[in-house]
Amino acid sequence: MTSTEATEPLSRARRRPVEPLLPEGEARASANVCQAAGCLSMQSDLVFEALRERVVAAGLGDVAVRRVGCLGLCAAGPLVEVPERGRLFDHVHADDQAAMDALVATLAGGEPGGRETSKEPFFSHQVKVVLERCGRVDPERVEDYLATGGYQALTQAVATMSPEEVITEVARSGLRGRGGAGYPTGLKWATVAKATSAEGKYVVCNADEGDPGAFMDRSVLESCPQQVLEGMAIAGYAVGAHNAYVYVRAEYPLAVKRLNSAIRQAEREGLLGSRVAGTDFEFHVEVRIGAGAFVCGEETALLASIQGERGTPRPRPPYPASRGLWGRPTLINNVETFANVPAIVQRGGDWYSSIGSAKSKGTKVFALAGAVVNTGLIEVPMGLTLRQIVFDIGGGLAGGKNFKAVQTGGPSGGCLPEALLDMPIDYESLAQAGSHMGSGGMIVMDEATCMVDVAKFFMDFCREESCGKCVPCRAGTVQVHRLLEKITRGRGTREDLALLEDLAGMMRSMSLCGLGQGAPNPVFSTLRYFRDEYLAHVDDHVCPAGACEMDGGDR
């Protein structure tokens, strides 16, 4: 994309000058124009305005044109979907008359244009629970969320269920924390519910999505913030909390804006605030904005940051469930975990646990990126294989290159080789393979990527993001990075390799929090599956992928 547009789409969107086109009664067809950050950066707001004008000019009185959240196939944006006719239009630009003509014809009931979504492998493997309404509702209109059954679960919970019943349902679903660690959600809720505090409890939504390569939480917040708020309110009811915070990273201004607007609208509808859904249950949500510190994704650091302090972790126990914000019992879950809750309450835990694999229930949202054709946002049942994700949904490698690895779990995850492509994706398999689920970033790498360089990239990241509180992480990341730098320059030796493994093991066992404990994972997993590449750098002073500039050795 080569826009030289001087105006800024986010500020245009902020003004929301043009209302969506909504016919009275049910629309015969609707054009859903993606306004998530990806498409918006390609001026999809102008696409919305242009299409709206065309539909008005064509006199299509029973057609809706609305702004929606992420349609998934970010690689092909700006996207417009006509769900009634099962069509998706890609690369739509406001001044592209042919595309506009095809869209108007499709909406008017003529020859349908665009791609047939049911025939696209990108969509066919997906099961949507978290993303059920992404791309279907206007993220800034609570009316849209309500029209698709939104807040029914909360109303049902507060009016007809006891807090214990809600927790039982969530426990029965088998839902595990989607932030990466996979702790059983029902168990966490039960712990916070049991904790007693005269001064109240808190619910905190962790939206500090810091893993490079991950954009699931951003997309969910930009596409359907109400679903996250509903999940939080249900959690508040279940554990007995009346105040909540959403901690969002500063890099996501659009998500912050839509979240704030969603809170105001839900309060206006009486679905948040002092009398939730007309009952005595009180639930207030505030947004706290991060300030660019990766370590704040760690729960104790995040709590410190909400309290206005430096985001440094502290040893656990005590866990936040017993001593969290201002020393009070606090439930912390990730965005995606909360977004699963309304459907679980409404359709039952048994329904949810019927999706997925034996120990990992339900679905997982992944951000598919890197050297793959169909980059974008996907939601699949647990247990799908990596091959299905990369080659069926992802459409294989871009530019006809060969697959080398897929990186999951961010800076504390690992790189998985071709031999593991048929491995099912769930918490256990990934951990066994030396990676982990992480929050859901999945980066595909081709033959031109050097795995030693990737390990160095992640170590550099952890080195800069280490909070400096504990020595194994603060000094370990620096030393390990230095060794990797030496190796990628062709100056490393076999002794350096041994030292590398030694130091990485020390960091894993001695660091205070997940950042330092997980930082060596990319090193371990690349050493495990791509040792040849390390040896080529050390013994032959050659980078097999041709990515490293070698200035050492005898070449």
Partner: protein, 164 residues
């Protein structure tokens, strides 16, 4: 929640923007835990945090200066020096890294003599690095004055900065 220990004080200057800072602090009840929120507001209005601003926030919220400086320097989002008129952020997240973010930084260094964290001598442009903007599907991505540009190459990066 801790209660307020401080109250409204006279701002460092008669700049009208301080009134907005004061409004923000009042909304947060002048509570010490509002520190990061208030620093965000000051930086949004003034572009960076100078010593006067940090001292004023410290006194207003009843937070010791050492802690205010500690927080301001801990978080990479906070700037203690004035920035250029325009900013260009190059994302160096994983997807952008493997898709060529390094070559963009090299190009900017070569053509403009600009390194990450630096500002051109005329104060026109600051170059920053981000640890993933979540725009991975369009990698490599850069943000010029708030607008995200995807699939940028060393050949197109200068054109994106030309109109500034």
């Amino acid at each position: 929640m801790p209660t307020a220990t401080a109250r409204s004080l006279a701002p460092p200057s008669d700049d009208k923007r301080w009134r907005q800072v004061e409004v923000r602090m009042r909304r947060l009840g002048h509570r010490p835990d509002g520190l990061i929120e208030v620093l965000h507001t000051v930086q949004e209005l003034f572009g960076y945090l100078d010593e006067d601003a940090l001292g004023y926030v410290s006194r207003s919220l009843g937070v010791p200066p050492s802690k205010v400086f500690g927080v301001a320097t801990f978080y990479s989002h906070f700037m203690l020096k004035p920035q250029g008129l325009h900013t260009c952020v190059v994302c160096t997240g994983t997807a952008c890294y493997i898709n060529g973010a390094r070559s963009l930084l090299a190009k900017l260094d070569e053509e403009l003599g600009l390194k990450a964290g630096g500002t051109t001598p005329d104060g026109q442009l600051s170059l920053l690095q981000a640890r993933c903007l979540g725009a991975c599907s369009m990698a490599p991505a850069i943000v010029v004055d708030g607008q995200v540009h995807g699939r940028v190459t060393p050949g197109t990066v200068l054109a994106l900065l030309e109109h500034l």
